[in-house]
């Protein structure tokens, strides 16, 4: 990788923005968006890049929150001085999605009417709504036009939505390991996760109390999801058929213990309602296929970089190719590469020299070419 430098200590911030009319007709007031920024905004405000996170991600994309913080942000490999998203050059904004539980408006926000958290009475949020909230955030910096919007998985859907919701507001769009709509299989995985939550005795129609959250259901949902983020190769390599390291009561196999650990650590940092809201947003996102998709993408003006990963069976390369072909049919400027990886869907998060090279090459290309 190009550099091991970190953006250092970063401060999570929250923006309280104006009203937002959501896709389903309800109005979010105020719209709160959690975010972080890295690098310096140029005087002309023309070097800003928006980074969009995936399902369980958040605004903390790079750097550390404190000196004792052991783990950096989720995309620290790619965001920093001298890295693919070079913070010496660019002003990087990483924004958290509404509907989530990491500081933006979502089911955990306090309903001003009841004085209690919204829970499942929070309005339905779409990918388009998430992007609309990001647009308010970007405008709050006085930025008219982003140099780039980039994201992987759900973040890729947001980036794609940006290109058609606000065609004049971005120069470049990077879509990694993503899709223009979920297949039945992808919806099926999410449905199993949601059903695990709904069947938890603590679920209480989404009006659960802090003291008794549907932890077991959420942990199961995460276990299910986590399987789909890995690959057969990765699991063989990591676990094989190894017996458990401990905890015989819970699992016979190392892979099982691992998933249980992943599930249990997830419930400490994620809200079950948000899991339902965000996976619903993913499943409902649909720009269509073939000619319908071409038509949906026709307003886009920006350049595109689409990247897929050979071992990603959750968002397979064929879904990225669908986007690329529709962009080409619609006469858009697009780069497409399928990177050979063994890491499955999570590939876009991991160090990869080629991924760094293509992002850097794409961003370095003069704007008018």
């Amino acid at each position: 990788m190009g550099s091991n430098q970190s953006v250092g200590i970063v401060e999570p911030k929250t923006a309280v923005l104006g009203d937002l009319r959501l896709d389903n007709g309800s109005v979010l007031s105020p719209t709160v968006v959690a975010y972080e920024t890295y690098g310096v905004l140029s005087p002309n405000k023309d070097n800003a890049i928006l980074i969009c996170h995936a399902l369980s991600g958040d605004a903390h994309a790079a750097g550390f929150h404190s000196g004792s913080d052991k783990r950096p942000g989720w995309w620290d490999e790619y965001v920093g001085p001298g890295k693919a998203f070079d913070t010496n050059q660019y002003f990087v904004i990483s924004s958290n999605v509404i509907g989530g539980c990491k500081g933006s408006s979502g089911p955990m926000s306090i309903n001003p009417v009841s004085g209690k958290p919204y829970g499942s009475s929070f309005p339905f949020v779409s990918i388009k709504d998430m992007v609309a909230a990001q647009k308010l955030l970007v405008e709050s910096f006085g930025i008219q036009r982003l140099l780039c919007v980039a994201g992987g998985s759900m973040g890729g859907m947001q980036a794609l939505q940006w290109s058609i919701s606000y065609p004049d507001a971005l120069e470049n769009c990077i879509i990694l390991a993503s899709s223009a709509e979920h297949s039945a299989m992808q919806i099926a995985f999410n449905e199993v996760g949601r059903q695990a939550i709904l069947s938890d005795p603590n679920w209480n129609n989404g009006l659960y109390e802090d003291s008794a959250t549907p932890r077991k259901g959420l942990a199961l949902a995460r276990m299910m999801g986590h399987i789909t983020y890995l690959s057969d190769h990765k699991m063989r390599e990591k676990f094989g058929r190894k017996p458990p390291i401990g905890n015989l009561l819970n699992s016979d196999f190392a892979v099982g213990s691992y998933l249980i650990y992943q599930g249990e650590s997830f419930v400490d940092r994620f809200d079950a309602n948000s899991y339902i809201y965000v996976t619903k947003a993913l499943d409902h996102f649909s720009l269509g296929k073939g000619q319908e998709l071409t038509k949906a993408l026709s307003p886009a003006q920006c350049r595109f970089l689409v990247v897929s990963y050979s071992s990603d069976w959750l968002y397979p390369p064929s879904q990225s190719r669908e986007i690329v072909k529709s962009l080409e049919a619609s006469d858009k400027r697009v780069f497409y590469v399928e990177l050979t990886t063994n890491e499955g869907h999570d590939s876009f998060l991991l160090p990869n020299q080629r991924q760094e090279d293509v992002i850097r090459g794409f961003l370095n290309m003069p704007v008018n070419e």
Binding site: R333, V337, D357, V358, G361
Partner: protein, 203 residues
């Protein structure tokens, strides 16, 4: 002008076929380069104000193309160009690609649908050195344009100038232009014997 540092290794002097193509296609045209390799030709076309894009299956070559700012699609041309509208491009270029495709006839037909003209460049199997190697060594020839051994070659077809001319006649393709090259220059006399590389422009 052209930033030679960004090109991998080739210069126009070494690639008379590139020079010929650059001369043929006018600025403002739209070009699709099938099997564009590391994007050198597309990069040169871009410098001339020609809007190009490429398809390539080699991952390293694709990364190189993106580094050069050449629009590319990572994929296999055998898997279809069907999403492109009729006559979307002024030219489709198949530069030393056609011999590697499974169904050259189908691909050329599809190219003629999406482009006004198709430029096909291929290593000439009728070249004298190739003929002599078969004749005197009795082995599948390995030359600079056909640099592979029989067991590791990506080339599925071996064709000569006469073969391709015959193919165009059979399929009813109109040959608009032809050019033949050795290493550094064009060949006019007896091209099926003296040309290493053949270029056909068809419609």
């Amino acid at each position: 002008m052209i930033d030679s540092k960004i090109l991998s290794s080739t210069t126009l002097r070494e690639r008379p076929d590139f020079a010929y193509i650059l001369d043929t296609i006018s600025p403002g045209s739209r070009v699709l380069d099938l099997g564009c390799g590391n994007g050198d030709l597309l990069y040169l076309l871009k410098q001339k104000g020609i809007r190009g894009q490429g398809i390539e299956k080699d991952e390293d070559a694709i990364v190189e193309c993106i580094r050069k700012g050449v629009y590319v699609h990572h994929g296999d041309i055998d898997e279809g160009l069907s999403h492109h509208e009729d006559k979307r491009f002024d030219y489709v270029i198949l530069n030393q690609t056609i011999q590697e495709t499974r169904h050259p006839g189908d691909i050329i037909k599809e190219c003629l649908r999406i482009a006004k003209r198709v430029i096909i460049v291929f290593p000439n199997f009728g070249y004298w050195e190739v003929r002599f190697r078969i004749l005197f060594q009795g082995k599948t020839p390995v030359t600079d344009l056909l640099p592979y051994r029989w067991f590791n070659t990506p080339n599925l077809h071996f064709l000569s100038v006469l073969d391709f001319q015959e193919f165009c006649d059979i399929r009813g393709f109109t040959v608009e232009d032809r050019a033949f090259f050795t290493d550094l220059k064009q060949v006019k006399f007896s091209p099926n014997f003296f040309a290493k590389l053949a270029l056909f422009q068809i419609r």
